[in-house]
């Protein structure tokens, strides 16, 4: 019985093998049949509609913007359209060349690097996806590409599809084989004198700037302006006093960026104020820097401070010395200075990166009073954790105005507050409309919200 079953099983297995072998042969046969059919039929796809070409607005010239509505075939899910090919010419009837491609489902293209003032004409070709195999070898394609450099805009697959139709490749574009749009043009590119997209920004910026200027003017005119005290700034004088009592030096670090960072500039202006106090107290200041221009500027600043404190003789260029531009090399040296000279007070005012904590922790270990200030949001937590006082962001920029005590400088801080007030007002109004829109689902309110948002979307 068992033997009988085994025999049937074996027979069945053999049958299966035969069947599968037969099937495979049939497949191979059909493959050869496909090879014999030489010409690939390029599907003719619907052309794009509403094709328009116009000068790109708000640009520096040399650009033309093309827009169109998608080809009907591109809206289908079958993915027949692979891309849109852009053709350009300087006359409306002939001489069109490929200048670029846009992806399928894209309905715009910006043509760049054009001559200003020249008339251009454009056509858009709805380009099909090649379903066949790439038959051209690289050796065949390369000379083609050399003959028609514009073909490099297309993929290998595309070129071989075109070659399937005709070895004279560019004729495809004349023979109406593909879905080609009407000619758009003539159109010229021009440069604009005002970027209208920035109008919102301009208005907001002007409002803030004007309020700053007005308050500077008011303060200059003798109007008394109230400003609250900032803890970190009052600590500065005490810190200098402490260094004087202890007979130790003061270390000033203006960050590790160059003068092309406004935080460094802010640090230097604060230096100007505190150097005067230092000169009056007759304390030593040590300022290692990591940028040459900062060195030059800091020297000028300190010299001026000593001069106005009536102690020009006490000034020396050696107070400021260059170390290295390299971030961590500079930190290595500053750490060395700290543990060897043991300054009583350390100032870190400027732009800082990862080195902030290395310096602040070393400074802490030598028991120095540390006052930091930076507008690098990522480094603020470390200064807050390791220093005695930290000027947070905006306070860094306000510090020199505060310390100067000059009315016009203080006036600018008032102007700043107006900016904050405007920001808060718009945040409230915007939030109210946005919330109403979200809760009621009203299209009108949503439109108002989006309008307010668009003012702030530069």
């Amino acid at each position: 019985m068992l033997r009988f079953k085994a025999a049937i099983f074996t027979l069945l297995l053999l049958l299966l093998f035969c069947l599968s072998a037969a099937a495979q042969t049939a497949e191979e046969l059909s493959d050869t049949a496909a090879l014999e059919e030489p010409v690939y039929e390029i599907p003719r796809l619907a052309q794009v509609t509403n094709f328009e070409a116009k000068d790109s607005p708000d640009d520096a010239g040399g650009e033309i913007e093309l827009t169109w509505d998608l080809s009907v075939d591109d809206k289908k899910e079958d993915g027949l359209v692979s891309k849109y090919v852009v053709l350009r010419s300087q006359n409306p009837t002939s001489d069109f060349h490929i200048v670029g491609v846009a992806n399928h489902r894209d309905s715009s293209y910006i043509d760049k690097n054009l001559k200003e003032g020249t008339d251009y004409y454009y056509k858009i070709v709805t380009f099909p996806k090649y379903q066949g195999e790439v038959r051209l070898t690289r050796e065949e394609i390369d000379p083609l590409m050399e003959q028609y450099p514009e073909l490099t805009e297309l993929d290998i697959k595309d070129v071989s599809m075109l070659a399937e139709y005709d070895r004279d490749i560019m004729s495809v574009f004349d023979d109406n084989i593909l879905g080609i749009s009407r000619v758009a043009g003539p159109v010229k590119s021009r440069a604009q004198w005002f970027n209208s997209k920035d109008l919102d920004t301009l208005i907001i910026g002007l409002t803030i700037c004007i309020s700053v200027v007005i308050f500077i003017g008011m303060a200059r005119g003798g109007r008394k302006l109230f400003l609250r005290r900032i803890g970190g700034l009052q600590a500065i004088e005490n810190a200098i006093g402490r260094a004087t009592e202890m007979g130790k030096s003061i270390l000033f670090i203006p960050g590790i960026q160059d003068m092309d960072d406004v935080q460094t500039v802010a640090g230097i202006t604060i230096l100007g104020r505190i150097a005067k106090t230092i000169a009056e107290y007759d304390t030593k200041i040590n300022m290692p820097v990591s940028r040459s221009i900062v060195m030059t500027t800091a020297r000028e600043t300190i010299k001026e401070a000593y001069l106005s404190a009536g102690r020009p003789d006490a000034y020396s260029d050696d107070m400021v010395h260059y170390i290295t531009d390299e971030q961590f090399g500079y930190v290595a040296a500053v750490d060395g200075i700290m543990v060897r000279e043991k300054p009583a007070t350390c100032f870190y005012l400027g732009a800082f990166f990862a080195e902030s904590l290395i310096m602040a922790e070393t400074g802490n270990s030598i028991g120095a009073i540390q006052i930091a200030g930076t507008a690098m949001p990522a480094q603020l937590p470390f200064f807050v954790a390791a220093c005695d006082y930290t000027l947070i962001g905006e306070e860094l920029f306000a510090a020199s105005a505060y310390l100067s005590g000059e009315p016009k400088q203080l006036g600018s801080l008032k102007g700043q507050d107006v900016g904050k007030f405007i920001a808060m007002v718009f945040i409230i109004i915007g939030a109210v409309f946005a919330t109403l829109a979200a809760l009621t689902g009203s299209e009108d309110i949503l439109e108002i919200t989006n309008m307010i948002k668009s003012w702030f979307s530069a």
Binding site: G100, N103, R138, D142, L154, D155, I156
Partner: protein
């Protein structure tokens, strides 16, 4: 009481020592723990798993040695997997040191018994195009033609001499791309240009600092998979080992480093807790004293 006071005023060098030990000792241990695999790492694996052999994969190495502890284990694991799966690999870098890191990953992969260097021909199975300056503009230009940005590869071969590159014009010819990123330029730029404009399928490996910026792109589907920080690296090694283990040893530095990092983390937290206990104990005693 003296104990708590001493604890508060502990010499910070003790903390340094503990941190060092917490990081160094686990390196001697041969651990093998199974992490839970997050959705985003699974997504990365799934995307790679779906690729057919000989698919073309573009890897951009956008980091330098300081970030290597986090990103190199990811690169190693992915490189091993891709080579084993016989994917065609195209390497490039937007950071100058990137291509060097890529070669390190390649060499590491070739150490595996199952990945024999002789089976892979440079220029056919893998290519290192090298570094190109220009940040996001490089990606932009690659959108029209890779050739424009990489006239020569890392070792000086001309683009058209590389058989693998002959069939590749731009992103349309790439089946998948991965970006290892430590900052700018990195994943954000790849998403904004390669994904949004040229419809590339993108997976990413990021440092822990970078990852939060990329999560929104993962949630919106612009990035199909994401490994973040050392944990991401460990998970990646884990997921490869689970589904594709056996002949290739995926569990490597990511898993090992992960243990170091977790223990060091625990040390930091331990000190914070102890510091606060000490502070409260002493604070209470001081208050008692003051009231007397």
């Amino acid at each position: 009481m003296n104990f708590w006071k001493a604890l508060l005023a502990i010499d910070r060098r003790w903390i340094f020592l503990f941190v060092f030990l917490a990081l160094a000792v686990p390196m001697f241990l041969n651990v093998d723990f199974d992490l839970s695999i997050s959705r985003e790492v699974q997504g990365l694996y799934d995307a790679l798993d779906k690729l057919q052999p000989n698919s073309k994969i573009l890897m951009s190495f956008d980091y330098d040695p300081p970030s290597a502890p986090e990103l190199q284990p990811m690169a190693d694991a992915i490189m091993k997997y891709c080579l084993k799966k016989k994917l065609r690999i195209i390497i490039m870098g937007l950071w100058p040191q990137g291509p060097i890191q890529a070669n390190m990953a390649l060499n590491r992969a070739f150490l595996e018994e199952d990945i024999n260097r002789d089976d892979y021909v440079y220029g056919v199975h893998y290519v290192n195009l090298g570094y190109q300056a220009g940040n996001e503009f490089v990606i932009q230009r690659m959108g029209s033609a890779f050739y424009e940005m990489f006239k020569r590869d890392y070792t000086g071969n001309r683009y058209e001499e590389l058989p693998l590159m002959r069939g590749i014009k731009n992103f349309n010819d790439i089946d998948f791309s991965i970006n290892f990123s430590a900052g700018y330029p990195g994943t954000v730029e790849w998403v904004q240009i390669a994904v949004d404009r040229f419809h590339v399928r993108l997976g990413a490996g990021n440092t822990a600092v970078q990852a939060p910026q990329v999560y929104p792109y993962y949630n919106s589907g612009q990035v199909v998979g994401l490994a973040g920080g050392m944990r991401g690296a460990a998970e990646l090694e884990g997921v490869f080992a689970r589904f594709d283990g056996g002949t290739v040893d995926y569990k490597d530095k990511g898993t090992k480093y992960m243990l170091s990092q977790t223990i060091a983390h625990a040390v930091v937290m331990f000190f914070i807790v102890v510091g606060n206990i000490a502070y409260f104990v002493i604070g209470r005693k001081d208050k008692l004293k003051a009231s007397k």
